[in-house]
Amino acid sequence: MEKTLAKKSFPQWIKKLGSWSVYIPRKDKEGRWNYVEADGGEVGLEVLQTTLPPKKILFPQREVFLEFAMTPAGGRETLEVKEVLPDVKPTVIIGARPCEARAAWLLDKVFGGEFRDVYYWKRRDQTSLVGFACTTPPSENCFCTSVEGSPHSEEGLDLLLTDLGDKYYVQSLSPKGEKLISAAKDLFEEPKPEVKKQVKAAHAESEKKIKRQLKDARPIAEKLKGMFGSPLWDEESMSCLRCGICTYLCPSCHCFDINDEIENSSPLRGQRVRTWDTCQFPDFTMHSSGHNPRPDKAARLRQRLLHKFQYFVQVYDKFMCVGCGRCITLCPVGIDIIKVLDKVRENGA
């Protein structure tokens, strides 16, 4: 389904989604963009990149799996365990970048494969993604076109909106998308025939504006297979601080840890929770024996790149990188994944 929506009607449409949780990017006091619940108020839709991608809505940093408690019953203690499933009302993320939706589409593969992650899907099934084609690149380090994405890619999106000056061109890409349109049918119009041409031109133009490029991503993925023991990882990780910025703020990174958080030890009461984890932390997948499979920074940088550009490609035939450039922009020491992969390509060539 394809429609147009006048820009002046946009706030009315959001109002019509009153029964939904609506997330939109908002600027905080420090001037950083973040996805927050709209709760009425202004809905500005500049082309921008939030610090945290909308991953946090689908895959929150902390998720309670179950609650447990020891209760004295008739002189004997019994352990009560209660499963906690997310209770989510219909949610819509408005203003998602196409790369962020593409990352959600990759997460769907991870959490929906052989083992279906019920916690993830409880949220995912209720969530619709409304994307805006990036008519200008939201970051100077955008490189989506190098990793099989584009500033107007459709994967993971339910609606794709393209800015045409006074109106948006609205492409519905799923039944969820159609539902969003039918929530305010009267606001949407049938597109005039010439509009399609305009959209095509805008999309083509947007691709040209991407400044950064990672050449030959597929051949690099192939080459990485023989580079596990390369000294390159040592050299490239010298300046790494071993913080979690590149992974925590990555829209497609999804490693997690599960811990029991004890609230009270006697009588025992607590929760089992899942929290984000990252291959960049020194205790990531540390064995209880004390053995650490990735003992240094080199091994950790290698893990991040190989997961994204080798292992994931082998399993899903996709890159686990959508080219948003956050890890490049936000790295405090300027480690640049494009530059590191450039060196992989040139290595031994």
């Binding site: 905080d28 420090e30 001037g31 950083r32 610090t51 945290l52 940093q61 902390r62 100077e140 380090n141 050299e235 010298m238 300046s239 601080l241 071993r242 913080c243 979690g244 910025i245 925590y248 703020l249 840890d257 811990n259 029991d260 958080e261 929770v273 929290t275 984000w276 984890d277 990252t278 932390f281 020194p282 205790d283 540390m286 209880s288 024996s289 004390g290 003992p295 240094d296 920074k297 490049i328 922009t329 936000l330 790295c331 405090p332 020491v333 300027g334 480690i335 640049d336 494009i338 530059k339």
Partner: protein
């Protein structure tokens, strides 16, 4: 302001003669910020070194890595590493020497003076340039910043773009060095703790709500800890590796190990993490501002450390990182030290 050309000859000589293992300096960044840390092993690469007001990073952090690397090697190369330090960074070297974390022979210090300016603040720079990316930032003869973008150059008074910490700088040239580039001119410093005035004027309730809001943003990426040259503990209290497991360790012992701070990024846990870090930096923080710069969510962490720096100064007359022969604040006492807080 120092001139990098002054240091290049020395750097080449050090590498050519094998006097240092490698040099930690600044080179060109590729991610939109003009400078980035650079590690040079070969004298032919010395020309890649740069020095300009975007050299914000405190490279002393990498001496901690070097020590760890050496500890893992069976036959470690005992030669020193060369390192470029600004005034503030040099004070971090002093603290590491004071605490005997490193030895003076472990480092060859290439000092750079910030002269009458300092380094730029990324947020101020980005605001000034209206989001346009700076390709280059230089200092002119009048100590004004000259910023070059794709669209030309813009000039700005130093005060407009300087990092907050530079406005309160106590050491605009290195306090310890083997070679120095740039002048040893003192800068007037009228309000050494000026940045704290606003927050100190708030009531306890207002401060609580300020910090609650700020710390609730924390995602515990630990960039603040990781960027800090003083956060060198092998096992950090927040990591889950603080249990030595042997063949005799029971499953119960593993399960019951004390976790001081939970992994969940929640108000209580975030507060404990940041307070533990702040307290551990009391009398040690040299105000390089790296924690705050590294924070992807702009939590004003410098306030916490600056406040403790002020306490150390007012209560004990102690200023961090000027004399490596002095005992550290936490490991020394004097009879005249105030005791009225002991009840």
């Amino acid at each position: 302001m120092a001139n990098i050309e002054d240091l290049k000859e020395e750097a080449k000589k050090l590498l050519r003669e094998g006097k240092v293992k490698y040099i930690i300096g600044y080179g060109a960044g590729t991610n939109g910020w003009p400078a980035a840390p650079l590690f040079i092993k070969k004298h032919e690469d010395v020309d890649k070194l740069v020095w300009n007001p975007t050299c914000v990073h405190n490279l002393v952090r990498f001496l901690v890595d070097e020590k760890r690397r050496k500890a893992r090697q069976k036959q470690p190369d005992k030669r020193p590493v060369g390192i470029m330090v600004k005034g503030c960074d040099s004070r971090a070297v002093v603290v590491l020497l004071q605490e005997k974390f490193i030895d003076r022979n472990d480092v060859y210090i290439l000092g750079v003076s910030c002269g009458k300016t300092g380094v730029v603040d990324d947020a101020k720079l980005s605001k000034k340039m209206g989001g346009k990316k700076a390709k280059k930032v230089e200092v002119d003869a009048q100590d004004r910043f000259v910023v070059t973008t794709e669209e030309g150059t813009v000039e700005a008074a130093a005060e407009e773009l300087l990092a907050e910490r530079c406005l309160e700088c106590k050491a605009n040239f290195p306090v310890i060095y083997d070679v120095l580039s740039g002048e040893k001119t003192k800068r007037p410093l009228d309000k050494p703790f000026g940045s704290l005035e606003k927050i100190e004027s708030l009531s306890a309730a207002e401060r609580w709500s300020f910090w609650k809001e700020q710390l609730d943003k924390c995602i515990r990426c630990y960039a603040c800890r990781s960027a800090c040259p003083m956060c060198y503990c092998d096992e950090c209290v927040v990591d889950s590796i603080n249990l030595a497991v042997t063949a005799d360790t029971t499953a119960d012992e593993k399960a019951q190990r004390i976790r001081w701070v939970q992994r969940s990024a929640e108000s209580s846990e975030n507060l404990i993490y940041h307070l533990v870090r702040a307290i551990h930096l009391a009398g040690r923080c040299i105000d390089c501002g790296e924690c705050e710069r590294a924070c992807p969510l702009d939590i004003p962490l410098r306030f916490l450390n600056k406040k403790l720096e002020k306490e150390a100064k007012e209560l004990f007359g102690y200023e961090v990182g000027f004399d490596s022969a002095l005992p550290a604040l936490i490991s020394s006492f004097r009879d005249e030290d105030p005791q009225d807080f002991i009840r």
